[in-house]
Structure formats: structure tokens, C-alpha cells
């Protein structure tokens, strides 16, 4: 596995608040990397800076570099829209648009200029299959996305992200608002998707990280405390704080 994303001495400030401190790591291709750590440690912040969703938060300033297959994504010549297309994102709360299921999935491709009905149909089907939702919704694609259950909505959001053919998929606690059955489904889905996509997921749930990911990064107060193969990190952590955290002594 080679590193697709290289993060190099990244510092991020919200105004004067130092949210990420000198973060460096390599995120490998076609694998699942999990970010764990107590609330407020900067997991979401780092995730959002990978597709520059932080740009939208006024007062954010960044130092250091993030390279995705060699391109500095904060460089001048970067096309932010294409970056976001290539680096898809799924949020904590399912957030489908108040449109039909079909239109939700077709939203991205349409943005990027695909208008042919046939092409769109293909993409919608492929993406819904990819998100393991096709069989449940194929007969009522015109129904409002809001009529789906929470778990289905979240899978729809994944399908929507897949529809623009991303290479990387960021998932920010994508299961924490869901019930266990839906969570399980989405974990399985992630396992499948990693064959084709590079996945970075934030989770509160150490068991989830242990179950699902290949690499795990443990954050504390904006710093990377430990970064290792998931198995190693959970069985034999190097840092005392990591051990305390995963053994439930805090967090």
C-alpha cells in the first residue's frame, strides 16, 4: 500500500485557537484509516481539512502541507471543486437534500455536467448498488429521500458521494446517529468499499475502529499521539495515553 495522502507538519487555527498541532502522517491508498480520540481533539477538523471544507469556516488559518498523490491541495493551482469531487465526504447526521432519491444521487453528476438521462440512470443505479441500498429503493426512486429511515438516509448519502467517482471517502462519525443494525450495514459497506476507495473515518467508538479499520490514529488535544496498524495499536499501544484511552480509563 502506498501513501495517497501525505500530511506534513500541519497546523490549523480557528482564529487564535490552535486546533491541530504539527500533525504529520501518511494515509495509505485503498485502506480504512480511523481517527479516534476524545471529543474536541481535532478529528473532524483534520478530516475537513482534507477536502478543504474548512475553507467555509471564517477565521480558519492553516500552515504546513497536505499532498494528495503529490499535489499540494492548499496550493494556488488547485481547483477546489474538483478536489471535493475527488475527496467525497459523509457527515455525522444523514443530510439528504429534500429531493427525490434519484435526484439526490444524480445531484453530483449533474453538477459536473452530466445531463444524458441514460448515463445518469446508470450512475444512480451503480452508486445505490455501491452503497448497498439499491434493492431497498429501486422501486421508488421518485420518492422523497426524507421518507427513508435514518440508516437508509445515511447509505443514500454514501451513494450520493460515490456518484461523483471520488477516490477518497471521508466519513465523520457516519454511524453515530444510527441504530446498531444500520451501523452494522454501514460498517460492512465500508469494508467492501475499501477495495476501491481510500477511506478515512472518524469514530467515537473504539470497537468500531478496531472492527473496521486497517490503520488507526489516536488524537489528543490536536496532536497525533499514536499512529499504527489497528491491530498493533489496540493490542500493544506504545504510548501510555493511548493505552489509558483504549482501556476506557478515560474518554
Amino acid at each position: 500500500m502506498q501513501a495517497l495522502i501525505e500530511i506534513d507538519r500541519l497546523n490549523l487555527f480557528y482564529g487564535t485557537f490552535h486546533a491541530l498541532k504539527n500533525v504529520s502522517m501518511n494515509i495509505p491508498e485503498k485502506a480504512i484509516t480511523a481517527f479516534i480520540g476524545p471529543s474536541g481533539c481535532g478529528k473532524s477538523t483534520l478530516l475537513r481539512s482534507l477536502n478543504r471544507m474548512n475553507d467555509m469556516i471564517p477565521g480558519t488559518s492553516i500552515e504546513g502541507e497536505i499532498r494528495i498523490s503529490g499535489a499540494d491541495i492548499y496550493g494556488k493551482d488547485i481547483d477546489v471543486e474538483t478536489l471535493r469531487k475527488k475527496v467525497g465526504m459523509v457527515f455525522q447526521q444523514p443530510n439528504p437534500f429534500p429531493k427525490s432519491i434519484y435526484d439526490n444521487v444524480a445531484y453530483g453528476p449533474r453538477l459536473h455536467g452530466i445531463t444524458s438521462r441514460q448515463k445518469l440512470d446508470e450512475i444512480v443505479e451503480a452508486s445505490l448498488r455501491g452503497a448497498a441500498l439499491w434493492h431497498e429503493v429501486k422501486d421508488h426512486l421518485k420518492r422523497s429521500a426524507l421518507s427513508l429511515s435514518g440508516g437508509q438516509q445515511q447509505r443514500l448519502c454514501i451513494a450520493r458521494a460515490l456518484a461523483v467517482e471520488p477516490d477518497v471517502l471521508l466519513m465523520d462519525e457516519a454511524t453515530s446517529a444510527l441504530d446498531p443494525i444500520s451501523t452494522l450495514k454501514i460498517e460492512e459497506l465500508a469494508q467492501e468499499l475499501k477495495n476501491k476507495y481510500t477511506i478515512v473515518m472518524v469514530t467515537h467508538n473504539m470497537h468500531q475502529a478496531a472492527r473496521v479499520s486497517n490503520q488507526t490514529v489516536f488524537f489528543l488535544n490536536g496532536e497525533v499521539v499514536e499512529y499504527a496498524e489497528t491491530e498493533k495499536l489496540f493490542s500493544n499501544p506504545e504510548d501510555q495515553r493511548t493505552e489509558d484511552y483504549i482501556s476506557g480509563r478515560f474518554g
Binding site: N51, M53, M56, P58, E81, T82, L83, R84, K85, K86, G88, M89, F91, Q93, N95, P96, F97, P98, K99, Y107, G108, R110, L111, H112, S144, L146, S147, C157, R160, A161, V164
Partner: protein, 281 residues
């Protein structure tokens, strides 16, 4: 004690609300029943008369619609664009506070002053005389602030997560606004447009000054430089100056027609929303 207060509160709300409702219905009923029963097509499409009884309101009615459409065609894009700016692009600083106060200030400009301003602009500066276009633009100015503020509020109310979802898919700001924000905010925006349309339909002071109290006297006159008496102005005219013996009756019928049309506009604008709401939950 709390229960008693709550009981009193509930009774008070119901009483006040029923009084207001009864009052509103009474008002609407009063206006409609004075005018509607004697309404005829001849009246609605006929030409007005100064001497004989039985004059109609045709050209004024046409002008009302014509001017409404033109003024809305100006006020909606401008107002929505300004509202979108305030909600989406504007940094949160002093200048924006200033813009917002300007918008609200503009909402409090008395219509007579818009009229005087319209005269200064169209009659004196551009030398157009009393014209439909002058009236329509002045009317648009009058309605700009309402549409602006309502658009801003409606767009602000769209949950941030939808906006994020769109950006995360690689949408540009414009695409996000066009495809997600406006469709989600459309309910509020339509309320604003209905309020503005009602106001435009009922406004007289501005139009008397800028578009005159005459029509060109023919029914379908699309010339923008024709004089543009609207139904509300005609209503004012028959109520305050006309000599025709049935002035009273004309004004009652005209008021009923006006009210009826405002109702119709409200409904027409809302039907697509209702249909949409039906489909989505």
C-alpha cells in the same frame, strides 16, 4: 395557581385570536359583499366612463397586471440577489450591518416619497412623462426591501448541513445556491413575493404621481410609455374625484375585484408549493 393562569392564557389566546379572525373575516366579507354581487364581465373588461353609469375597469385592471409583472420582474431578481448576498456572501461586519439597516430603512420610506423620487427620476430627469415604466420601476423600488429581507431570512433558515453536503460534492457556490438553497427556501421567498405582490396591487400614491390617473383608453396596450392608471388608482379616483353617479358602486366593485385578485395571486403562487409539500412528506 399555575393551572388558573394557564387556563386564563388559553382563553385569552383563543378569544383574541377569534376576535381578530372574526374581524378579518368581517372585513373581507364587508368588502366582498358590497362589490361581488353586482359584478359583471362588462364591468371587469369594460372601458371606464366619466359621465354615464356603468363604466368598467378594463384598462386599469390590465395595467394593474402589467405593472405588477414589470415591477416584479425588476424587484424579484434584484431583491433576491441582494438577499442572497446578505445571507450567503456577506462577511459579518459593519458594512453589512449598514446594508441591513439601509434595507430596513428603505422599507419605511413612505410611498409618497417614492412617488416624488419617481417624478424626479422619470419625469424630470429622463423626461418620460407619466408612464407605465416609471410607475413600475418606482413600485419595484418600494417592494425591493421586503423581498430582500424575506429572501435573506429564508436562505439563512436552510440548514447548514444541506449547504455542506452540496459543497462536499464539489458544487460551486452558485450551483449550491441555485440547486439547494433556493429550492429549500422557496416557501419563505414565496411568502415575501405574495406580500410584495399584494402591496404592489394595492398601492396608489406612487402610481398617481409617476404613472398618472389615465389609461391610454384601449384595452390591451403594451406600450411601456403609455400612462398607467391601475385598479387601485382608479379606486382612489372614483372614491375621491369622479363625478359619475355610480362612483360609490364602482369603488366597491373595484375593491372587491382587487381583493379577489390578491387572493388569486396568493393561491396561484402557492399551488406549486402545496403540490411539492404533498410529495415530500
Amino acid at each position: 395557581m399555575n393551572r388558573v393562569k394557564n387556563r386564563i392564557f388559553t382563553i385569552a389566546v383563543w378569544t383574541i385570536a377569534s376576535c381578530v379572525i372574526l374581524f378579518v373575516f368581517g372585513l373581507l366579507f364587508l368588502i366582498l359583499q358590497r362589490g361581488l354581487p353586482s359584478l359583471t364581465w362588462d364591468f371587469i373588461f369594460g372601458l371606464p366612463s366619466e359621465i354615464e353609469e356603468g363604466g368598467g375597469i378594463g384598462p386599469a385592471l390590465f395595467n394593474s397586471f402589467y405593472m405588477l409583472i414589470i415591477s416584479m420582474a425588476i424587484a424579484i431578481p434584484l431583491g433576491m440577489a441582494a438577499g442572497i448576498y446578505l445571507a450567503e456572501f456577506a462577511p459579518d461586519n459593519k458594512w453589512i450591518g449598514f446594508v441591513r439597516i439601509c434595507v430596513e430603512g428603505l422599507a419605511s420610506v413612505p410611498s409618497i416619497i417614492f412617488g416624488l423620487f419617481g417624478i424626479a427620476l422619470f419625469v424630470e430627469m429622463f423626461q418620460l412623462g407619466l408612464t407605465i415604466i416609471g410607475g413600475a420601476v418606482s413600485l419595484a423600488f418600494l417592494n425591493l426591501p421586503v423581498i430582500t429581507r424575506v429572501t435573506e431570512e429564508a436562505i439563512r433558515a436552510v440548514p447548514g448541513e444541506l449547504r455542506n453536503a452540496s459543497f462536499a460534492l464539489g458544487a460551486t457556490h452558485l450551483q449550491t445556491i441555485r440547486r439547494v438553497l433556493i429550492p429549500s427556501a422557496v416557501n419563505g421567498i414565496v411568502t415575501g413575493i405574495c406580500l410584495a405582490a399584494g402591496r404592489a396591487f394595492g398601492e396608489s400614491a406612487v402610481i398617481i404621481l409617476t404613472a398618472g390617473v389615465t389609461t391610454s383608453g384601449v384595452m390591451w396596450d403594451f406600450n411601456l410609455l403609455s400612462p398607467g392608471e391601475t385598479l387601485a388608482v382608479h379606486l382612489w379616483y372614483v372614491q375621491s374625484e369622479a363625478i359619475v353617479p355610480d362612483a360609490q358602486e364602482i369603488s366597491q366593485k373595484a375593491a372587491a375585484v382587487l381583493l379577489f385578485l390578491v387572493l388569486a395571486i396568493n393561491v396561484v403562487f402557492r399551488i406549486p408549493l402545496w403540490v411539492r409539500e404533498r410529495r415530500f412528506r
